[in-house]
């Protein structure tokens, strides 16, 4: 007869593993969070080499979603909130929307911005900031007045009449963000442009381009021209060939986008701020941070603001909109707004020529707190 294996050690280990899994966050540490993180997002996955087996286990993941009674929308499910456009941006936000989405109200103004309404003509004395960003910039998963952008706007307004126009669109790669801003943002005649990104920006453009280029889209986009030239990408290829061609040059592609942003702003005499935000529960590898900051500095932005350490040492559960979601909640956005205000205080007081708050005692405009 076959000798039965010893079951006691594995039983004890299983029980211990379960106890560790359900223990309060303070007891478990970051390793447990890594063990419980089932779905690294698409960009994180994309950064890594996709070996034969990594590629081959993907169908299991995809098939895993089949047959759900009510599929949960993934964080990149922007469909109901967007309208497709026939250019490199792929889609823009639907205007005049106010719908519940992912536990918050998703509201847009008449210009299709996740923001309040503004008069196009700049009122006298108003300092106008324009933000180009991604889903974190757009306040994904938080109420319209709880994102870091409206919070920061209220903070600025204490110093001088200020507006922060939010041109952020979830799911757009850096080059797409700038293309969107180029088409929509300059009409507001901003006094300052903030170009926001996250560590996920690295490699995002080439991932988008590999599906857009075969359709003939993206070749004429100014911010991509430099990167495409470096990668020696030419029309007529397929997705796989562009993947192969672009991937080794993702740094050059992102650098080209950054240089275009900084140069466009410079040519219009508008100062530009490059802003790096963290994702909740996804510590930024120092090498990624260094490379992104290096690219931004080399691109010639007026200011480089790196807030990628803003969530370091804090419990991701208290800062994310949900489990396994890297988007910050209202508390996370408030933290980002505080750090942003602190980082740009000198810049803003110089540019708005105000040295102290207009009325430090009065509540912030529209502050829900």
């Amino acid at each position: 007869m076959t000798r039965p294996p010893r079951s006691f050690p594995s039983l004890v280990f299983t029980a211990a593993l379960l106890a560790w899994g359900v223990a309060p966050p303070g007891w478990s540490g970051r390793v447990r969070e890594a063990l419980r993180a089932d779905h690294p997002n698409a960009i994180d996955v994309e950064r890594m080499e996709r070996g034969y087996y990594e590629t081959l286990t993907d169908p299991g993941r995809r098939l895993d979603r089949v047959g759900r009674a009510k599929p949960e929308p993934p964080p990149t499910d922007f469909g109901p909130l967007t309208v497709p456009v026939p250019d490199v941006r792929e889609y823009v936000l639907k205007a005049n929307l106010s719908v519940p989405h992912r536990g918050a109200t998703w509201a847009t103004n008449a210009r299709g911005m996740r923001d309040r309404e503004y008069a196009v003509d700049k009122p006298e004395g108003v300092f106008r900031v324009a933000l180009a960003g991604d889903s974190i910039g757009a306040g994904w998963g938080v109420e319209p007045d709880r994102g870091f952008e409206p919070t920061w706007e209220r903070m600025l307004d204490r110093f001088a009449p200020a507006e922060v126009w939010n041109h952020a669109v979830p799911g757009l790669a850096p080059g797409q963000r700038w293309e969107h801003f180029t088409r929509e943002g300059w009409t507001s005649r901003p006094d300052l442009v903030v170009f926001q990104g996250t560590p996920a920006d690295f490699g995002w453009d080439d991932r988008k381009l590999r599906s857009l280029l075969p359709k003939g889209v993206g070749w004429d986009v100014a911010s991509y021209k430099e990167g495409l030239a470096v990668a020696d990408a030419r029309p007529g290829g397929d997705e796989e060939s562009y993947k192969t061609a672009l991937r080794p040059h993702r740094e050059a592609i992102l650098g080209g986008v950054y240089r275009t942003v900084a140069a466009d702003c410079r040519s219009r005499g508008v100062p530009s701020v490059w802003l790096l935000l963290p994702r909740v529960g996804k510590p930024t590898p120092p090498a990624d941070r260094a490379r992104l900051v290096g690219l931004a500095r080399g691109a010639g932005f007026t200011r480089v603001v790196d807030l990628s350490d803003a969530f370091d040492g804090l419990d991701p559960k208290a800062l994310a909109i949900g489990p396994d979601d890297f988007h910050p909640n209202a508390a996370g956005h408030a933290l980002l707004a505080d750090r942003l205000e602190e980082s740009l205080r000198q810049e803003m007081t110089t540019r708005t020529k105000l040295r102290r708050p207009r009325d430090p005692g009065r509540p912030l405009r529209g502050d829900p707190r």
């Binding site: 007869m1 039965p4 419980r36 990594e54 299991g60 047959g67 993947k243």
Partner: protein, 463 residues
């Protein structure tokens, strides 16, 4: 590389005794009064003897593992669903009369297919798989049946390549996963079978419950699966299964640590240290596959299939042939059965070195081609590339050389059982060298192209 026995996680006795058919016990004993054979119904084999004192702790351990899977989100919805089905159905299967156990497991597997993918894909997959099984049972010559299966497979392949819809995106990988290799083995078996295979065994071979959570599924051998059914005391088999699932979960958690915390991207390689970290961690991503295989085989054990282990400490391989024997053992056995042995047999009158070389080369060429074929059924693209060809070519060459060296080696003196310091050091050095070489090859295989791989080394060494 020659045929050798397979280690099992549980069994340590003589390998050839493990898959013996159920012992023909004297009819008198089989037909004895139930009161004289507690835990067994008349006609049931000894291996099926029920004992709730042994079964309940196993079942509780399985429940605990399910809770761990839920807590750590191990592999998502499909696996959790199938494990829940297995947990709920296991007591019924355990208590059921022996003759109903196989039909029950087949029904459970089909139910799992429908539960995971929904009624329409489930129905289409069941119908197509049943049609293939039906063709293999037609009362015509084997070559005609094999030809019909091949034509049908080419037709489905064309449909896989040129049709895309929500339904077919599910059907092709699932159907491919069920049939692409197991049909080859099944046809090979029925060619040599003395009598027709029972329908329940044929259907049960293709419809395997854990398959619907793991499209990349171990190439289970038809005959081994059949012979392993209640070949050992059921509690031993189930304990082995629980242990395999446990090992699988641990490996999947280790994979997450490596993938999410340790692995850097190839772009970040800029020194010898980062290169070593990348290459080592990139290879360790294989934990995912070995984790899947362990859980899949563990689930089959729960229902009485005492299968061999799928991987045997492959990180400790001390040579390339040793590595080939330890990693994905089911694949190695599949290749030996359908490629190595037939080629070596055909060349048996040739010099031994030539037969071994030709058979080994054939194995690696077939392995390379079948990995593309597997990619096609699961992903819709063949995935052939220069790094892919180089990987299999180099690995095949290394194994080939190793096989020749092994064949020339003089028989060793019987081991005294004690290892001296020198032999431990030699063994450690060989293990380390094998690990380093395989990791290096693995990084080549994972690389999008040869230029990117060479570029990584240039960056690492400042070239």
């Amino acid at each position: 590389m020659e045929t050798e026995t397979r280690p099992s996680t549980a069994a340590r006795n003589a390998p050839h005794r493990r898959y013996f058919p159920i012992r023909d016990e004297p009819r008198a004993e089989f037909d004895a009064e139930p009161s004289r054979r507690p835990g067994l119904r008349p006609g049931e084999p000894e291996a099926a003897r029920r004992d709730l004192r042994k079964f309940l702790p196993i079942w509780a351990h399985l429940a605990l593992l399910l809770a761990v899977m839920k807590t750590y989100h191990v592999e998502g919805r499909a696996l959790f669903l199938l494990m829940s089905i297995a947990l709920a159905a296991l007591p019924v299967h355990y208590l059921l009369a022996y003759r109903w156990k196989k039909p029950f497991f087949l029904g459970l597997s089909v139910a799992g297919l429908f539960a995971v993918f929904g009624p329409v894909p489930g129905l289409v997959v069941t119908a197509l798989a049943a049609a293939f099984i039906g063709v293999t049972r037609l009362p015509i010559a084997w070559s005609a049946r094999a030809g019909l299966v091949a034509v049908a497979a080419i037709g489905l392949g064309a449909a896989r390549a040129w049709t895309a819809s929500e339904l077919t995106d599910v059907v092709w990988p699932v159907l491919g996963s069920m049939l692409m290799f197991r049909m080859i083995l099944y046809l090979y078996e029925i060619k040599h079978a003395e009598r027709p295979e029972p329908l329940i065994d044929a259907a049960g071979y293709f419809f395997l419950l854990p398959n619907y959570a793991f499209p990349l599924f171990p190439v289970v051998d038809y005959r081994t699966l059949g012979r392993s059914f209640f070949s050992t005391d059921i509690h031993t088999t189930q304990l082995t299964g629980v242990r395999m699932i446990f090992n699988g979960v641990i490996q999947l958690l280790a994979y997450r640590l490596v993938h999410d915390r340790l692995l850097i991207s190839a772009d970040e390689v800029n020194s010898a240290g980062t290169l070593a970290a990348f290459i080592g961690c990139n290879y360790l991503l294989y934990f995912k596959v070995s984790g899947h295989f362990h859980i899949a085989c563990g689930m089959l054990h729960l229902f009485g299939y005492q299968l061999p282990t799928t991987h045997n400490n492959y990180l400790l391989a001390s040579s390339f042939t040793d590595y080939w024997r330890r990693i994905n053992i089911y694949w190695k056995d599949f290749m030996i059965r359908v490629v190595f042995n037939p080629v070596a047999f055909r060349l048996k009158r040739k010099p031994r070195w030539l037969a071994l070389s030709a058979a080994t080369a054939a194995v690696f060429a077939t392995t390379w081609a079948l990995h593309g074929y597997q990619m096609f059924w699961l992903r819709g693209t063949w995935g052939f590339s220069v790094p892919d060809a180089l990987f299999w070519g180099i690995l095949g060459s290394l194994v080939l050389v190793n096989v020749q060296l092994d064949a020339r080696e003089k028989p060793r003196k019987p081991s005294t059982g004690r290892l001296d310091g020198r032999s431990i050091a030699v063994r450690a050095a060989k293990t380390l060298a094998t690990f380093a070489t395989i990791s290096l090859l693995w990084s080549l295989w994972s690389s999008p192209n040869l230029t990117a791989w060479v570029g990584m080394f240039r960056r690492a060494f400042g070239g």
